[in-house]
Structure formats: C-alpha cells, structure tokens
Symmetry: C2
Subunit: 252 residues, 2 copies
Amino acid sequence: MAQHVSPAGAPAVFRVPRASTVDLIARELRNAIYSGALGVGTQLGEIEIAQQLGVSRSPLREAAQRLVQEGLLTATPGRGLRISIIEGKQINDLYSARKAVESEAIRLLIENGDPDAMATVESAYEKLVIASQGRDPRTIGDSDLDFHWALVDASGSQRLRRYMSTLVLETRIASFSVSQGYVVRRNIAESHDTILAAIRAGDVEAAVAAVRALLDKAVARLTGRDSEDFDVETVEEPHHTGAIALEPITQR
Amino acid sequence: MAQHVSPAGAPAVFRVPRASTVDLIARELRNAIYSGALGVGTQLGEIEIAQQLGVSRSPLREAAQRLVQEGLLTATPGRGLRISIIEGKQINDLYSARKAVESEAIRLLIENGDPDAMATVESAYEKLVIASQGRDPRTIGDSDLDFHWALVDASGSQRLRRYMSTLVLETRIASFSVSQGYVVRRNIAESHDTILAAIRAGDVEAAVAAVRALLDKAVARLTGRDSEDFDVETVEEPHHTGAIALEPITQR
DNA sequence: GTATGTAGAATTGTCTACAAATACCACTTA
DNA sequence: TAAGTGGTATTTGTAGACAATTCTACATAC
C-alpha cells in the first residue's frame, strides 16, 4: 500500500508524527487479520496477544478499540474480542460501501488529472495482469485488492482512503468467511482493463459503471447467486495451527 | 438522530448487547463534540474528563481511541488528545466523503423501495421545512444535518450509516472551525425539496445530482469561494466557559 | 533584548493488581 | 442417559500507581 504524500505548499518541516505504540499494535493486528494469522471468528485472549506483542494489556486494549470502531473486531461485554464474521447480508452491505467509495474515488481521480496518481494505478494494473497470467489464485486475489486500493489511494482523499483500508480487510474477511476458502476469477484482468480504459479516456460515468458491474459480480459470486460462472477457482485457506504468532512491537 | 432498527428477517431474540462502558463514554464524547461543549482544538485532560464522567482513565482512553479512529480526535504521542480541526483542504475531503456516502444511500433507498424508510425521510424533511420557517439558524442547521442523516439511515446500510454518523459530526466541527460561528442558508428547504421529489419519482440520477450540487454549494460557502450568495446568516458560537461539563456515565 | 539552556511541574503512557462477569466441568437428580 | 445445577477456573473490566515525556517558567549567556 502506498504511503502518504506531503501536499504541495505545506511547510517544509513537519512535527514528526512518530507512531504511537497504539498505532503499531493496531497495524500489527490488521496485518494479522489480512494475512489470515488471526482466523475469522477467532476469540483473542488479551494476555496471550499482549505477551506475543511484548506489550501490556492496556495499549493492546486501546488498539483493539480502534479495530472495533472499524468493525473488524466485535467486542461483547464480559466475553472479550473476536474477529468479526462477514457473511450473508453483510456481504451486500460491504460491497455497497465499496461501490460508494470506489465510485467517488474514480470521480476524483479523473477530475484531479494527476499523472503521478494515474501512474500508480497503471502500475497496480500491470501487476494484476502479470499475476493473472500465473496460476496462483492467492496472488491474483491479492493483486486484485491491491488494484482497487491503488484506485482509491490515487484519489488523494484521506477519508476515502481510510474507509477503503478497512474495506479491503473486510473483503478479505468476507472471502474467508463465506467459503472457508478463497475464490478468485482467473480472467480478472479483462474486466479491470475496461475500468482503466474509461479512466484513461476521462469518462467518469463509464468507469464508474464498470466498477459497479465488477463489484456486483463479486457479490453474486460470494453470495452464491452466480452458479453459471464456472471460471473460478477455490483455494483452501491454510489451517490455523492454533498457535498464532504475532511479531513483537519494536521501536520505542 | 434516529435509532438503529432491527433488520427484517433477523432472529427475534438477540443476545442482548448491553452497551459497554466504553460505548457509553464514546457516545458521551461524541455528544459533547456535537453540542460544542468540547470546542474545536480543545486539548482534553484525561483525568479531568474521567472524573466528570465518573470513570477511570482506562475506559476513557479506550473510548478515545475509537474517536481517534474516526478522525474526530487527534492523538499526538506525549501530548495527548485534542478535538480535530477541520478546515482548508479537509473541507473538500469531508464533502467528497459525504457525496460518496449520500449518493450511494439514495441509490439504495430508491432500490429498496421501503415505505417505512421513505416515511422517516419525509418526516425529517417536514421538520426541516418547519425549522426553516423559523428564525433560529441553529435549529435550521440541526434539522439540515438531521435530514441528511435520515437519508443515509433510511438506506438500511450499516456501513454507510456508520460513516455518516461520523461525517455528521465532522460537518459540525467544520462549521465551528471555519468561521468561529455557524453558517446556514435560510432558503434551505427548496433545494432539499428537489432531492426529495427526485427520490419520490424514483429517479436515481436526478436525486444523486441534486445532492451533489447541494453539497458542492456547501463547500463553496465554507471555503469562502462563494461571495455572491448573500442569503446566509452567521451565528456566533456560545463562548466556552472554560469549565466543560460532561454527564456522568450511569447504567452499570 | 533576544535567545538558549536548565529545572520544575504537570500530563501522558504503561504496567500491575484487584474486582466482576462469564464459561467450563463435574456432580446430582429425575 | 440426559438435563439441570452448582462450583471452580479463566477471562475480562476497572482502578490505581509508577515511569517517561512534554510543557512552562526562570535563569544565564551572548
């Protein structure tokens, strides 16, 4: 995922915003969810996680509340935290949000007309093409999400970016939740080419329509309403070995 | 703001999710921001707030992290928490997000065709009309935001609702940040009538376009690029008396 | 008179300990 | 044997205490 970029015209020297411990923990938790190290529905014991991260329970709990706010974790009083499950109607809801965010992102991307931003999108697309030529569905799925992320990142909107970073994770959770596997389409590159072509042409409506269609297809696939599309491949998620391993927080 | 509604078809009996202390604190903080009790840019001392709320620092800090994730609070290591300031380019960003969310909400609202949902929107509109006939700009501003909230709430989308609840607060913060006053248009009802008419007619594109136009106008007003529109009124925000008062958390 | 360095106070960040709620398991009983 | 019940153990929720960082004020040097 791309980094933040200093806006032009801003002062040359910023107050260095060194990341707080809570930031680092939250990031680590998100990584763990994305990678699948923390499986869907997993109840997470605070002392265990805290020990693995090399921190106390307090900052861990604070970081957890951030993910709760995002909807990635579900907190039930007296019962602690578990990774949210996203299935059923939530799938539709998730993709509604994605349609909202990605549509607006495309609009901004085209309006801004920033060549650098377009370049990163093109770059993400190329990686997607290369990945789709390979045979590893996992890699394809990753580069698919990366592309959509790049799209929103290139919009330059801080809020859309924030929303999308969560939505990416939720999409990941959803694919874990639905099948306990991982479904991707093999011919994924063509449909994305349509989007990119429209963006290049500066045709907002066409690009938006293309993304919406793409996402609608994804919903149909995930909710099992699409029995005709055989060009998919299911990959089993590696079984969780019980012992989940998180990297300790460094930098202090 | 309207309350959450049980989605149809959900099990009749839920595991009663009694609100956790963190929930209550977070809600109280949001209320304080919305009401202006916690002014923009205010540094909040943890011990003081915790005492006023009648809780310890631990749950307060956890609740605060939720608002940090929302972007309502800004946390700087070693320097604690302060209410975020929203001005300049952030205004554009904020309204981009609103466009994204509200556009999609309208789309869903029309697609769903739920009479009850429409009724709540109509109700919010009526209140807006009544308020706009009065002379209190503060009331008008409130009912304006309430209407937009009702729109998104009626979409039935959990995620859009979550986004919007934050965006409403941010909009409020923005109007506090820009002028240290509160700007509203007097003839606000007509423009909203356009939206509602399009929704009633089931015309998605027209409704979406109307909302986008409305929001664009708001941006222009807030960023001061709209010197021609004289039909506005500025209200001074009541001076903060230094002593901020928060209601203690009850229910245990 | 301005700027720099230092000491003190206050506030935040983290940890440990205690209280309360929940889950699990054995036991009893129909 | 199955269901209900009670007790125990584990986990979470909260509070208070300690450590570290930052801000403010004052003194000193240029």
